[in-house]
Amino acid sequence: MAEAQGGRSLVVDAVTHRYPSGALAVENINLDIKGGEIIALLGPSGCGKTTLLRIIAGFIAQTQGRIIIGDDIVDALPPNKRAVGIVFQNYALFPHLSISENVAYGLAARGVDKTSRQREAQRLLELVQLPTMAERLPRQLSGGQQQRVALARALAIKPSILLLDEPFAALDKNLRLDMQIEVKRLQRVSGITTLIVTHDQEEALSMADRVAVLSHGKLEQFGTPSDVYDRPQTLFVNTFVGSTNRMPGVVVSADRTAAKVRLDAGTEIIARPAGGTLSEGGRVTVCIRPEHLQFVGDETGFAGVVGMSLPLGATVVHEVTTADGSGVKVSQARIGETRALESGAAVRLAPLAPSLANAFPATL
């Protein structure tokens, strides 16, 4: 389509921001984003996602660090000179302007004449599949439709970077999926470098080329979805992205690629030392995802007692209490007749494969 122009690169260089009230919202963030990439900024509420987005857009001047778009350092530029499109969480459509006036707003500000403006607005409304809504006011549209208008409005100025702040948070599940596909389609078509803020890890993993995980204003990890999911660098990333069991243990032996850990639950397993080497005898937390645990018939693995089984559609999740009293979850695919486990049944558990467990130095 006409607008594939290849987005510009975006570099967030050692950005720190402290609000006047003293809150340190983001701390030394470095991101190197290639032109045309989709990046997800993932993190729990209050971790500084919106702050970082507003710094990139130019609404907040960061305390330290630089923002570089393409070859230009943009720190001195006000938001209206940055060519950064932003879609707000609440859409922020102008309530007194019609849909087509909303979409054409940025073009009017650039001095485009009225007929070209209307033609372009109509073209964009067709792109977001709302060609018949041009004359309506925003409040006469559903949430999902408003979302599309906000997107069309941001795309109208042909931004070099597109920022989306929790764009799908207010939509119900089915609509959210539709919109995720829609945004990804539009992004592919336009090639605009896109940053999506979200606290929904599924959204981040499914939409983004790379995911930046933030916690308390710090960048925990910046990598591909499979890096973040399978090779988390910190305990936080491991527990925040996907669900996981945390099992305490002691390192028996360790090198750079593998560690043998004696779990308090009563077995030795091989785990990947994540985020640096581990010292022998040190306490660690081993993370194993529920889908990476299996029931074993023999005397290997560790023992436990089944508490409750929850059938969750395609999988069944069992809650098992281990010998040291901690609880673990085991997720089994529901293939044909899954063995029904009664509450109180004694079982033994083991990881599916050694590389699937991650060991992190225990924090005191």
Binding site: F59, N80, I86, N90, A92, P95, Y105, G106, R139
Partner: protein, 287 residues
Amino acid sequence: MGAAPAARDVTSYGMGLAAPLALFFLVFFVAPLLQLFWLSLHNDTAGLHWGLGQYLHFLTDPFSLGVLGSTLLLGAEVTAVCLVLGFPIAWLYQRVGPKLQTVIILIVLLPLLTSVVVRTFAWIVILGRQGIINATLQSLGLIDTPLKLLYTQFGVVIALAQVQMPLMTLPLITALGRIDPNLDDASCSLGAGSWRTFFRIVLPLSLPGVIAGCTLTYAAAITAFITQSLIGGGQMLFMPMYLYQQASTLQNWPFAAAISIIFLLAVLAVVSVFTTLGRMSRGYGGA
């Protein structure tokens, strides 16, 4: 269907609750107004001969029309001054921290907390021949003879604008507070400068507050008897004083009644122009 008695609609209240107020309104407002109207339809002071003479007199008398005109103009000037000065204050209020907000609200409300007579005399002290302004300008050597500030249209407008300022600022603060701050940012990120954002977004969306503020200020300014007469002095005559003279000094009750009715209609006309202007712009209907 429908054999069962209709359940009582819990969202409707009995009209009985409104009765005391309605009665009060009827006795103390509607009845005197009707009496006033009845009185104005008499050609003589004794109220014996029916006729439209009083209205004809007013509408053909250049002096009376002049008083009406200057009163309506005064209202317009005061409203304009309040709007121009009040909008930035309201705008500022929405953009400062909570401490400064308290200070601004206090400053805005201060005129309401002092007696109108005290305030007016303060203005006399400020504007008089030997008043603060003239004394300062003279001591600075900027003027030789004192400026005439008191007993001028300018003086009345300034004094009234200060007195009526809260009536403009408070609705504006409310209206501006209802505007989603993200709209500013959205406009800015779409490439609009601050002036375009102001005229295309902030101003249209604050229009309900502008209309309310203008209506209140206007109505209060043209009826402000004390300030008008004390600052305006003998030379400047406005409708309230004119009315008072006719009724109290000259005992010409039917003419005074006709003046009130005409004044009332003129004010209603101006207010409905404000409202219609607001309706016509789409910002008003926007919620």
